[in-house]
Symmetry: C2
Subunit: 461 residues, 2 copies
Amino acid sequence: MEERINIASDTVIEFLEQKRYSELKELLNEMLPADIALLFEDLDKAQLVAVFRLLTKDLGADTFAYLDNDSCMKLLDAISDREIHDVFGRLFLDDAVDVIGEMPANVVTRILNNSDPETRHLINEILKYPEDSAGSIMTVEYVNFTKNMSVGEAIAKLRREGTGKETVYTCYVTENRKLIGIVDTSILLASDDSEIIENIMETNVVSVNTLEDREVVTRTFNKYGFIAVPIVDADMRLVGIVTVDDAIEVMQQENTEDISIMAVMEPIEAGYFKTSVFSHAKKRIVWLLVLMISSTVTGMLLQKYESAISVLPVLVSCIPMLMGTGGNSGTQAATMMIRGIALDEVRFSDIFRVVFKEFRISIIVSAVLSAVNFARILIMYYAGWLGEIGGVSVFIVAFVVSAALMLVVIAAKFIGCTLPLLAHKVGLDPALMASAVISTIVDAFAVVIYFNIAVYFIDIL
Amino acid sequence: MEERINIASDTVIEFLEQKRYSELKELLNEMLPADIALLFEDLDKAQLVAVFRLLTKDLGADTFAYLDNDSCMKLLDAISDREIHDVFGRLFLDDAVDVIGEMPANVVTRILNNSDPETRHLINEILKYPEDSAGSIMTVEYVNFTKNMSVGEAIAKLRREGTGKETVYTCYVTENRKLIGIVDTSILLASDDSEIIENIMETNVVSVNTLEDREVVTRTFNKYGFIAVPIVDADMRLVGIVTVDDAIEVMQQENTEDISIMAVMEPIEAGYFKTSVFSHAKKRIVWLLVLMISSTVTGMLLQKYESAISVLPVLVSCIPMLMGTGGNSGTQAATMMIRGIALDEVRFSDIFRVVFKEFRISIIVSAVLSAVNFARILIMYYAGWLGEIGGVSVFIVAFVVSAALMLVVIAAKFIGCTLPLLAHKVGLDPALMASAVISTIVDAFAVVIYFNIAVYFIDIL
């Protein structure tokens, strides 16, 4: 990645200390807002304000949209009410709401008090939507046309009004506030000035309701490849749009959240290094505790077979392999489901198709695994690597372990594919039913299956 | 999600059977290409071609860009050379390359033979770039200006040439083919006709080299929120652009791949249902086998402590808990690293910071877990739920298990955070070092730590 003009934070601090403000100002104002925001993360509060005041008002506001919460808070704390007014007057509405959503109440009040009445009203409108709803990530800054306008008039309107709008690349056609069509600016530009909007607009409009989950919005982007998606209320009235840059942010957040939850952690809000040791620990401890206690069940089941173990301790040596392979098999099926649900490829109604498919997959997989395992046990015992098997035939041990393995893998695939779908059905996050949870459940099944087969085929009880 | 005009595949088949072609044609041509493509997945070859021929040429070509490989192959097989020519003449270049990239050699030849010489040349140019490089996902259809043009002239050029271009929302300013600036169409539209391009162009250009990994492109979109990113060669000559819709596709593919690899599967190329049982099994079996064989090590270690187990079989009952909790702790740390590396938040050079941070986290987490576990053992044994502990004090057993748990969690966090960073350093996919691999390694450590502590504190050997 080429970043033509970009200065390191050390250089900035040096310039500040040497009071070479005008040089620094010139350099900074050549930089991109996202790069300046990254730079800010390494500065202390006094440096932050000093640098911020060297930026033009527009660049300062643009930079705000990219700041992490920490720098944002520091900066808001240090700048004047007038400066807050300037920043929030210039920020795109959705970016302003984004910033405000992460700030504590007193800072929010200060921002709202220093905003124009109209901006304040709009911000409050968006803040009213439930967290993670489509409404909460939209902006109300879009360009709209009426169907009777000519292309020439529309382009003139776009050129007049477009500056303050988040996107000018998709325009909306409304009638009595209802969304009746969409015009891509590319189509608009390619049409004759005398053409009427009604004739070039797309009337088969894909829109998302304000109250739907924001994931519905990202799925729409995924599916159709739009630049912006209109957000409508229950009466199909256009209330806002979500632009693709915000959708990408949401997509990555959702992916990070899913991945965290799949690894039994509550998602952290900031970056890895910015999150304190204590809050990392807090996000991780809950599920570790739950699963630790749950695994006691497996321990108690094992204890039930204590006498079998003391007669034939060699049985124990296959437990890690059975539990591990079972857990991994279940995890594979569960992961397929979790991702399938997230991308809207698999639904609860598919459950029978899924179970049948996973059953056939598990037959193939478990047959191969069992055959290899059977061979492994024969080889290792004949070579003496695993020591003696107190009086029991190697073939019987190999058979017991391999049969158990086959059943464990089949059970694991079944558990792995059904639990995420069931979780989704009852409104839980399917990502919860990933590796750790599935493994813990499969562990218990593995013990029961294994020892039942062992006790049945080997005369040890 | 609202999809205003959309018909079910059953309806389409019904219309076809009743030969109600003109009605069907009318309905289809109101639909969006992405929806038609979805519809196609449920049709057989004859139905596919019949429906395809009812679409306008433009809609037909647009639909091609959204087709899955299966329908694509069926359709290409059934349509005439002339139709292939029409489709690929109309497709955006990057979409055409996308389609071609997935087709077998004979189909590719047929497509290229039926393309215009210029299109063929451009397709071949892009096909030359390495798989997963920035060059392989770019398009060469963009609008470029010279710096001396006026805004009026530029807008006229945009309106004249924009129709066949993939995006008209970011325009590029070149001089002797070198990229010297970027003009957002929004800025262009908001400027006076008499303004000169040089004065409104952004000269601090972010671009990506053709040969860099496509993930560098998606990261650029992530960071800056662009609509398109310019792709340049080593001499900063503009050779193409990547548009945001393609970047989103790549992002989701990369995420799906990461998630698959983290669950020890090779990523499947098509959707869950479209992939056959056999190829699902093939994608899953390799790592299951590797990890199954690896877990034998843990089994052999357990067998080393066979005598300890036969003296005190109760020791075995804590193994699932130790392995499970260790595996989960390690997975958490590993997942943090894998995601951090994917989002470019964590690098190999941070390894010491990471280890120190994870060490502190593991101290907190393991202290809590050990305390709870100590209490659990005391409570359960006094209540008699876990039966007798052949002559050893409950306190000693509780101490041994809790001390082992503490060390296992600390070791697991260390293994979990270092392995993905090391894998990344040596050029492996860090996602490989996720739950299953980490758990298998941690399992072996757990056994060694546990039995060494047990043997030391309890007089059993």
